[in-house]
């Protein structure tokens, strides 16, 4: 696939500053929602074209620096814009959040036996984690355990990591004033109790709101198609789908793994438009998988619930959990997630 180049080729970039027009780059679902809001009749347009998110990371990013983001399970949240957040105050935020965490834990709100209260909070920026220059700079928050020995191991063990980013978040940027910083996608790894405490602090401090980001079957199918479309030198894992069947009285899970080369061959056979992925192609790709399955088992997978997709690029679960496996397509994966987050906020 082509690396991402001139902004002009993106429909999104050609949108004017009017909020209504920022939906030109929307998915069919968003378009429908928009027309319902405006109470205009929905006119079916040709299947929305979406550029496959296979861009390279920008030149000034050290792949080593973002390596720690890969192969980790992240829980996703959407985040409304932060009010009066400043990148120059990161050290102060570290201090304030640290104090807050310790206070909360001593209150007994988050009780974990044997917990070490010697923790340190670090705020840092993640350079290069953006789609366009307009995107706000991504930043990272980490809770580390303070080492008892001052000499060795200055940096303790990382207990919790959370990062905030915005990849191609133009549609959101255009709707807010300058006092706000838009970082709609939040990813957390670590104990749920820590996520809750940190979320509370951010909500209080910046008047924002976190909301768990679920991924529905429609978007999971898109992800599966787009990630299968990505060109890979080497495949690390099979392309795998998990469906949950709503039958009673017993639950039934169906896992369908296909050799990654075969999945790619199937996709290539379905794919017609160079450099783009269309709704039609996604539907056809999924239909092929359904029909192959039906031929053998006489079961209609389309009547069941898609719960998880996994490829060599990334894996995603409907509960809003994601694991990114390939640094080459990191930005691409995040771009789609940013879009979902923005959609949830609006």
């Amino acid at each position: 696939m082509d690396s991402y180049d001139a902004p002009q080729s993106t429909p999104r970039q050609s949108a004017s500053s009017r909020p209504e027009n920022c939906f030109i780059g929307a998915t069919p679902l968003q378009k429908r929602l928009e027309s319902v809001r405006k109470q205009t009749p929905f006119v079916p347009t040709p299947p929305r074209r979406k550029i496959p998110q296979c861009s390279q990371l920008q030149e000034d990013v050290d792949p080593q620096k973002v390596a720690f983001l890969l192969h980790k399970q992240w829980t996703l949240y959407s985040l409304t814009p932060l009010y009066k957040f400043s990148y120059t105050h990161l050290k102060e935020y570290s201090r304030l959040l640290s104090a807050f965490i310790v206070a909360e834990k001593q209150k007994g709100l988050a009780v974990e036996v044997g917990e070490d209260f010697n923790i340190k909070v670090i705020f840092s920026t993640l350079l290069g984690m953006k789609g366009t220059q307009k995107d706000s700079e991504a930043f990272l928050v980490q809770i580390l355990s303070k080492s008892q020995l001052p000499s060795e191991n200055r940096e303790g063990k990382v207990l919790w990591t959370g990062w905030f980013c915005c990849i191609f978040g133009d549609s959101l940027l255009e709707t807010v004033s300058e006092d706000f910083t838009c970082l709609p996608l939040f990813l957390a790894n670590g104990a749920e109790s820590n996520t809750a405490i940190i979320g509370t602090w951010f909500e209080k401090t910046f008047d924002c709101n976190f909301s768990p980001l679920a991924i529905n079957a429609f978007n999971l199918s898109w992800m599966a198609a787009m990630w299968t479309a990505c060109k890979m030198d080497r495949y690390m894992a099979a392309t795998e789908f998990l469906w949950s069947v709503p039958c009673s009285p017993q639950s039934l899970d169906i896992s369908y793994a296909i050799h990654p080369e075969d999945a790619k061959a199937l996709w290539d056979s379905v794919h017609k438009t160079p450099g783009e992925v269309t709704q039609e192609e996604v539907d056809l790709f999924m239909d092929c998988l359904y029909s192959h399955f039906h031929r053998h088992f006489k079961i209609h997978l389309s009547a069941t619930r898609l719960v998880r997709v996994s490829t060599s690029v990334a894996s995603a679960h409907t509960d809003g959990r994601i694991k990114i496996l390939c640094h080459k397509y990191l930005i691409g994966v995040l771009a789609y997630l940013t879009e979902l987050a923005i959609f949830q906020i609006e």
Partner: protein
Amino acid sequence: MDETVAEFIKRTILKIPMSQMTTILKAWEFLSENQLQTVNFRQRKESVVQHLVELCEEKHASLNDAALLDIICEDVDPFDMKQFKSSFKKVLQRALKNVTVSFRDTEENAVWIRIAWGTQYTKPNQYKPTYVVYYSQTPYAFTSLSTLKSNIPLLGQALKIASKHQEIVKMDLRSRYLDSLKAIVFKQYNQNFETHNPTTPLQERSVGLHVNMDSRIIHENAMEKERVQRITQETFGDYPQPQIEFAQYKLETKFKNGSILAEREEPLRCLIKFSSPHLLEALKSLAPAGIADAPLSPLLTCIPNKKMNYFKIRDK
């Protein structure tokens, strides 16, 4: 002694090969040690038989005694539990100096075996034992293997030798429920199926078809629903299904859907896993729920009959 009984005994003894004669007569326990000592087994067979019949006459052999002899002849090498156990233990102990083997007899002619594995140099690990349940009257054994892969061939060897079979083959059938495996393997799962009355009208037995009080309301596709119910019932039966938790299919089949991938010769390599707390019951409910066609694919319905839940499917 009756003429017919005498004749019967004579013919039965004649059938016994000379090599097994003393073994069988001893197992019969009818003729005493002393009596047997008087017989010259090196004579011609006819003479031996003649002598033995005379001895039976002396002791007034009845038809029951004769019948017992017949049984013993049939079951020449009766299963000897003690011998099985000692043989099994010996095979394992000869290979691995450190191994703990324990036995427990249960009814149904089954023996539970517990094996804790060690190596030439380390003591047996009592916390990861392997359990085997062997049904002596059948060619089946069930194992729960929580041990190193390297011990598995040795276990197979021990079972084979101790049970005096030629070969041991691992079946593609796995479950957490021993009773379900037994049900499938011994075909016991339709034992509850005693009171089925084939003339009972479908409506009374079916699930999901409501009785309508208002005759103006009809089910649009009542006929199709009935067909699905009937086929499901024919396939799965009325009885509770044996409980297994998963089925796995390794598919290497060509993709067939119009022009897509039409030129491709190679098959699609897929691995499909079904999992459920009670897989067969879940599969049974799919067609009535409209999620699957009826009849369901034989790949799924054959699981109890074929005694497999791991499959490799290729194009023919």
